[in-house]
Amino acid sequence: MRAAVITFPGSNCDRDMAVAVEHVLGKAPIRVWHGDAQLPDGLDFIALPGGFSYGDYLRSGSMAANSPIMRSVVAAAERGVPVLGVCNGFQVLTESGLLPGALMRNAGQTFICRTVPLTVENGQTLFTSAYKAGQTIHIPVAHHDGNYFADNAVLDQLEGDGRVAFRYGEPVNGSQRDIAGILNVSGNVLGMMPHPERAIEKDHGGRDGRALFESALGALNAA
């Protein structure tokens, strides 16, 4: 079982992500730099952390989506390797085309930093099997560009396919249909704005994020 956390210039949740993975997996993930041409061989899990890669220049995540390592991440995702993108990582995933839609400026124009309720919409995915569908969990958000947009045809397809993993339990940022996290067609790529890696230990104020890592890393351990 080998996990990796990618760091871009301007990532700032990469350490938190690495610590969360290590807590659940019992082993530190490999840290990969954006300029590396290749991912290490034999990865079973890749995490794209939050932050402000490349200073959010042009559009959040757009520069990182075109960095050397992302070609390798896209190839791995297409081979079926599980990829988790949180916050800026979600923005990188939409910009790279691994996930549909786009993340726009929050409807209220302000940076939002608080813990929000989320509904687990699908409890049978690689990343959510340790939750129950319909369960409410509390996870922190911290973003300026989290307003999920896709056209109605895409939204209908996401909902119809069970690819909406998490929905906000209250209005947060103007996201279409309150979508907080979505999966790709194959179910091995999850992008979400809330930060599960910030809800791992009791001292974080809650441990609701832990089950996500237990789902993804546990499922892999069992495989």
Partner: protein, 84 residues
């Protein structure tokens, strides 16, 4: 060759930034403003022989996000660019 890429939000995509600016204009007493949409202007200096296809490719791969944005390419004459 100087090229201007105008990137704008697609019709139907909500522009909260434009809406806030619209409210501010009204607050300043400018009446008759029907809508405000905010886009982005990117100026490129490219080789003379750069084809339209390559410019399109630049826009679609990086400069615009085709999920939410449209783009328009404006090529500036060298004289006009120099005089500006």
């Amino acid at each position: 060759m100087k090229v201007r890429i105008h990137v704008s939000l697609k019709p139907g995509v909500l522009d909260p930034q434009g809406r806030a600016v619209h409210h501010s204009l009204e607050g300043l007493g400018f009446s008759g403003v029907e809508d405000v949409r905010i886009g982005r202007l990117i100026e490129l200096e490219v080789a003379e022989d750069t084809s339209d296809a390559v410019l399109d490719d630049m826009c679609q791969k990086l400069l615009a996000n085709m999920v939410i944005e449209n783009y328009h390419i404006e090529k500036l004459e060298q004289e006009a660019a120099g005089a500006a």
